[in-house]
């Protein structure tokens, strides 16, 4: 690789990193449920992304690389759980999540329902939970989620719809 090509790649990777660090960290946090593992997962995701960046860029044909990044994080998280030989416990730290709410009004009016939603998310099947994280924490559209999860757009739409319905039921009966 020519030095100028490497410099360009490094610069573009740096932009990708700056644009999506928060996305990867948010995904990792909601996926693994604690800050310690989320930090490791985020770090490993970007190291692996750096290693394969040139090829990913060539194969993306100009499409956004966020789904590719999230897919790396998804695979690494799956490996993490497989290595630990246990199911994800997802002990989401409610205090951190609730602290994302800014106003006193929010805290008074929404806290109880938010807490029930957070508790409900933990009971969803893994795939549905992931789809909700991508949609609501990362703001990804159906097409991006489909690319990240290796599904068709149609299957993703159905997956999201079912995830929301199931969560509504869980929250209603809790």
């Amino acid at each position: 690789m020519e030095p100028k090509d490497k410099a360009r790649l490094d610069r573009e990777f740096s932009e990708l990193y700056s644009s999506h660090l928060r996305d990867v960290y948010s995904y990792a946090y909601y996926r693994v449920g604690n800050h310690h593992d989320a930090e490791d997962l985020t770090e490993q995701t970007f190291l692996q992304a750096y290693r394969h960046f040139e090829r990913a860029q060539a194969e993306s044909h100009g499409r956004p690389l966020r789904p590719w990044l999230i897919r790396i994080a998804h695979n690494l998280a799956a490996n993490l759980y497989r290595d630990r030989a246990r199911r994800p416990q997802a002990p989401i730290d409610d205090t951190t999540v609730l602290s994302a709410m800014h106003t006193t009004e929010d805290l008074v009016e929404g806290r109880d329902e938010l807490a029930r939603i957070i508790a409900g998310i933990k009971h969803l099947p893994e795939e549905r939970r992931e789809a909700l994280i991508m949609r609501f924490a990362l703001g990804m559209d159906n097409r991006e989620i489909a690319r990240a999860m290796g599904k068709t757009d149609g299957a993703t739409k159905v997956l999201l719809h079912r995830a929301i319905k199931q969560l509504e039921e869980i929250v209603k009966t809790s």
Binding site: Y17, Y29, T42, F46, M101, F136
Partner: protein, 118 residues
């Protein structure tokens, strides 16, 4: 559940899953690691000295640099060197000799690829 309630629920869901900011120390650590790998990939491949590689503990950084610094080209180097490994094992006098032969082969393959790219 009607459409309005459904939208309300999605809004609540959006608030429940608010994005989480990465801690500052993670940013610092990650940026420093990426910077080190980038620099190492350039520097260490350029000044790859067999003499400095007698201690196996020193083998890790160049391997990381190799894996991170260049992609398809270096992967090809590793594959080619692996393919030659049996031949080197048979010809080696001892483990250090084998390590030196392997490193020499990696350097030669990298040079061949560099010439090919030119």
């Amino acid at each position: 559940m009607n459409e309005v309630a459904h939208t309300d629920f999605e809004q609540m869901l959006r608030r429940a899953l608010a994005p989480v900011d990465p801690p500052e120390h993670l940013k610092t650590r990650l940026e420093s690691t990426l910077q080190e790998i980038t620099d190492a990939a350039v520097d260490e491949l350029e000044s790859w000295e067999i003499g400095a590689m007698r201690d196996p503990r020193n083998w890790v950084r160049p391997v990381v640099a190799t894996a991170a610094g260049a992609t398809a080209g270096t992967a090809l180097v590793i594959l080619r060197v692996r393919a030659q490994r049996k031949k080197h094992q048979a010809a080696s006098k001892n483990p250090l000799d084998l390590a030196q032969r392997t490193l020499r082969a990696a350097r030669d393959e990298a040079r061949k690829l560099a010439r090919h790219d030119d």
